[in-house]
């Protein structure tokens, strides 16, 4: 256990050199690196805090914007709903009017068509009835019926109003037209009745008169036949009341 003072001195120098070397190559770089990392961490933490605050602010802004958008959307939607409802009501009203007009037009058209159809049907029926009546009466016509027709016609002539009877009496030529052949007896009766009024009496036959007799004198004419009744029937059939009853 002895001290070598040269070695001691050399070790002191060595130690001081080592302090210098480690200070340069160890402590300073490590301390600097640790300080830099600490600064970095502080800066990063601060940056994170700033970003978080910024994100929080942005989040609040977005939420506020979102709420505003929601409100705006609701407002727009409600307005759109109201407009759509009004549009719907208006269109429905329009359609309703249009339907009503079309319905009216259709009803009118139907009524006209029904009327025309009724008229055509009535006319056809009347025509058929007339033809049928004419045929029936033509078939039924015999001497007794012709005699009664002539008598009926002569009664009408007797009941003529005064002016007409005067006009008939002033006629020189009288033409008697019948739908059937007139025998001599009937001719004589007609002559007897008209004798005091006419100078000449001519007899003619016309099949268009259905079971009838006509008299023409002085430009005027009097007649009686079934066709007139059938014409009245025809007129009756073609009246609107009859059509409504038909439809």
């Amino acid at each position: 256990m002895e001290i070598d003072w040269f070695t001691t001195g050399a070790q002191i120098v060595n130690f001081l050199i080592l302090i210098g070397l480690l200070k340069k190559f160890l402590y300073r770089p490590i301390i600097n690196a640790m300080a830099a990392r600490e600064r970095n961490l502080v800066e990063q933490r601060q940056a994170v805090m700033d970003q978080r605050a910024q994100a929080e602010s942005l989040k609040q802004q977005y939420e506020a914007s979102l709420q505003g958008l929601h409100r705006e959307r609701e407002k727009v939607l409600s307005e759109a709903r109201a407009r759509a409802e009004a549009e719907k009501t208006e269109r429905l009203q329009h359609l309703d009017d249009e339907i009503r007009q079309k319905k009216n037009r259709f009803s009118e058209q139907m009524r006209q068509e029904q009327q025309e159809l009724g008229t055509a049907v009535g006319r056809a029926i009347a025509d058929k009835a007339l033809r049928l009546g004419g045929k029936i009466l033509a078939g039924l016509a015999d001497q007794t019926l012709e005699q009664r027709i002539v008598e009926q016609f002569l009664r009408q002539l007797s009941n003529l109003p005064g002016p007409e009877r005067a006009a008939l009496g002033q006629s020189r030529t009288v033409t008697v037209i019948t739908s059937f052949p007139v025998d001599e007896t009937l001719r004589q009766r007609i002559k007897d009745r008209l004798n005091n009024a006419a100078d000449a009496i001519q007899f003619e036959q016309d099949a268009r008169l259905i079971c009838g007799i006509a008299l023409e004198a002085g430009g005027r004419s009097w007649e009686w036949n079934i066709e007139r009744y059938l014409a009245e029937l025809d007129a009756d059939l073609l009246t609107p009341a009859d059509h409504e009853q038909l439809t």
Partner: protein, 224 residues
């Protein structure tokens, strides 16, 4: 059996000589310097960092923390001295497991040199921190009659520093040498491991005591 590396002379010219103590000291210095240079030349500021950088940072942080806990001051001023003491003694003792290596701390010359460094550093830090007059007043505390005892205590604790470290390391080396000659199988290995523990503790104790002495010298204002 030579246990004192001072006695292993490698080169001599007059009174100038290079012995094993100096050679192994330079080896330790070279390892510390080159290792630090290799690691710190590519330091990373951002994560991830290399494991060696992490190791150095842990060491520096640990030393800084110890300095701060003991001295309650900014550790930057004391880190080079205390940190170098710890690293040098620790690595010197750690390399004792290498065959043929003799720890420089097993030389009383080396421990004396380290103790002298502390002996000089304590008043240097104290005077620079609290001033010459206030530092000198500490020797007269609690009364002027304690002045001789404080001065003797100053020297004796320096001596104790040197002898404590030297005794522990040298004894470990001696014990290992004796055990190798007696039972050259297994048991010396256990003692070597125990020597590692002892060496680490001695490095810690030496550094901590140095810091305690410095802290007591630099806290003169608080004592007043």
């Amino acid at each position: 059996m030579i246990n004192n590396p001072d006695q292993i002379i490698l080169w001599q010219y007059g009174f100038v000589k290079i012995n094993a103590t100096l050679a192994f000291t330079w080896l330790v210095m070279a390892l510390l310097t080159v290792g630090s240079f290799l690691i710190t030349r590519r330091l990373s500021i951002d994560a991830p960092i290399s494991r060696f950088q992490n190791l150095l940072e842990v060491i520096v942080f640990f030393v800084n923390k110890q300095i701060h806990e003991i001295g309650q001051q900014n550790p930057a001023r004391y880190l080079p001295l205390i940190g170098t003491l710890f690293l040098f003694i620790f690595l010197s003792n750690l390399l004792a497991v290498v065959p043929g290596y003799l720890p420089p701390t097993g030389s009383l010359s080396t421990t004396t040199a380290l103790a002298i460094c502390v002996f000089v550093a304590v008043p240097a830090y104290g005077i620079s921190q609290v001033g010459l007059w206030r530092y000198l007043k500490q020797y007269a505390r609690p009364s002027v009659f304690m002045l001789p005892f404080n001065i003797i205590g100053e020297f004796s604790r320096t001596l104790a520093l040197a002898v404590r470290l030297y005794g522990n390391i040298m004894s470990g080396t001696v014990v290992a040498g004796i055990l190798i000659s007696l039972t050259p199988f297994f048991f010396p290995v256990v003692m070597q491991v125990l020597g590692l523990l002892t060496g680490s503790i001695q490095a810690y104790i030496f550094s901590i005591l140095a810091m305690v002495y410095i802290a007591s010298a630099t806290s003169g204002d608080q004592a007043d």
